[in-house]
């Protein structure tokens, strides 16, 4: 194609993650992928203006108790109180400041406050399981919540999801958008969970497991877990935006 004029803009490009970092969309062990994964090959999308920019969402999105899920009701929720904290980083270890972190989770018994969740475990009237925070200038975020319980699902016989917290982050570019799940150390349910095990690379899988953090526990109050979230990094040198022949 020579009819196209080059834009002439100097744009960053984002590195592609190594094979095995992310789950394949077709993961037969997780049955819901069956009718929902594309079967046609994905088309490579070059990194141009729409890809290297992205929504910059910050403090305007926060309410008063959004990062303390134990204080969103007049009474406290049931369960083990925990602090979940960490840093939002890019692939070169640089903090991503002023960036929205969203989470949602089940209650201490493993029940979500959602109309479709009806397994026989009570809803906790004092726990919504929804939180938001904005990273500080060093990319740090912190939530106070309760440890979610494991829960059964119908994927396979006697299937149980390991305890987890859903995280949603944006970074600074469309290329960096990420939704993941944070797990807890040494969960005996990992071995039978097709969602956790959908990540092919063992080391990558372990990056979804939080670390018990004794230093951040609060005596006679709360346990603590650390969970850093790492987004794609940039290529070392920006490229002039040219059309490929």
């Amino acid at each position: 194609m020579t009819a196209l004029s080059d834009s002439g803009l100097i744009l960053p490009r984002y590195r592609r993650d190594p094979e095995g970092t992310h789950p394949p969309l077709d993961s037969p062990g997780y049955k819901s992928t069956g009718l929902r994964h594309p079967k046609q090959p994905l088309v490579l999308l070059p990194h141009k203006l729409t890809e290297i920019t992205g929504p910059l969402l910050g403090p305007g999105r926060l309410g008063e108790f959004d990062n303390d899920l134990t204080r969103q009701h007049p009474e406290e929720p049931q369960g083990q109180r925990i602090i979940v904290h960490g840093r939002l980083l890019d692939g070169d270890g640089r903090p991503v400041p002023n960036s929205l972190v969203e989470l949602w989770q089940a209650n201490a018994g493993g029940r979500y406050k959602h109309v479709w969740d009806n397994w026989p475990c009570p809803v906790d009237p004092n726990f919504d399981g929804v939180g938001r925070a904005v990273t500080d200038s060093e990319g740090r975020y912190e939530f106070t919540t309760i440890k979610p319980g494991a829960y059964p699902w119908k994927n396979h016989d006697n299937a149980w999801r390991p305890a987890h917290i859903h995280f949603s982050v944006f970074g600074t570019a469309f290329t960096q958008r990420l939704v993941t799940q944070m797990y807890f150390p040494d969960d005996p349910l990992f071995s039978q969970d097709p969602i956790f095990n959908s990540v092919p690379d063992e080391k990558a899988r372990q990056r979804m497991v939080s670390r018990f953090d004794l230093s951040r526990t609060v005596p006679e109050w709360a346990l603590a877990f650390e969970f850093d979230i790492v987004l794609r990094g940039r290529e070392a040198t920006p490229f002039e935006d040219e059309e490929d022949e």
């Binding site: 929504p55 479709w116 059309e243």
Partner: protein
């Protein structure tokens, strides 16, 4: 080393929707249109537990973002977010973006759902831009017989853009 992606699961509706999510622009904004569509699975069934996110330039083709080397415009959110309802429908109120250097007007779309272990990404292009669409390098990289899945159709109050995750008429998805 990047943190792996995981599915949003069936209860994304707890944590991700915002009251103003579908409003990229306020009601009454000049040129405002609704982009509406239905998300379907490989059996042709509607998907009631998906989330659509959109990201786009403003009507002049500009972004409110420091990495745009042309300089940031101010105040255009550019971002829309809408969960599908029980009928698999979503809707985003926005303005049609302007052209970008070397690219036809388009909106980037992320689709999240139970059963998607990683978001899938597509693009909305607009009818009536035949010349610009024909010259667009991203569209040109898509097999010709599948390009139509990326072009919205006109509707009463804007445009229709359905997403077919799999099977007959499968939407073109991109490797970002």
């Amino acid at each position: 080393m990047s943190t792996p992606s995981q599915t949003v699961g069936p209860y994304l509706g707890l944590g991700l929707p915002w009251d103003d999510g579908p409003s990229v622009v306020d009601e009454g904004t000049p040129g405002a249109v609704w982009i509406r569509g239905v998300v379907y699975d490989g059996a042709g069934k509607l998907v009631p537990d998906a989330l659509i996110e959109t990201w786009q330039a403003d009507a002049d083709g500009r972004f409110d973002h420091p990495d745009d080397p042309r300089g940031a415009t101010s105040g255009f959110r550019g971002f829309g977010r809408c969960p599908t309802n029980d009928e698999g429908e979503y809707g985003i109120r926005t303005v049609v973006p302007g052209a970008l250097p070397g690219e036809a007007p388009h909106i980037n779309v992320s689709v999240f759902a139970r059963g998607l272990l990683h978001r899938v990404v597509t693009r909305i292009y607009f009818p009536g831009n035949a010349e610009a669409n024909a010259a667009d390098p991203v569209l040109a990289a898509v097999p010709e017989d599948r390009r139509g899945t990326l072009i919205a159709t006109e509707s009463g109050d804007g445009y229709t853009f359905d997403v077919r995750l799999q099977g007959e008429g499968e939407t073109v998805f991109f490797d970002v």
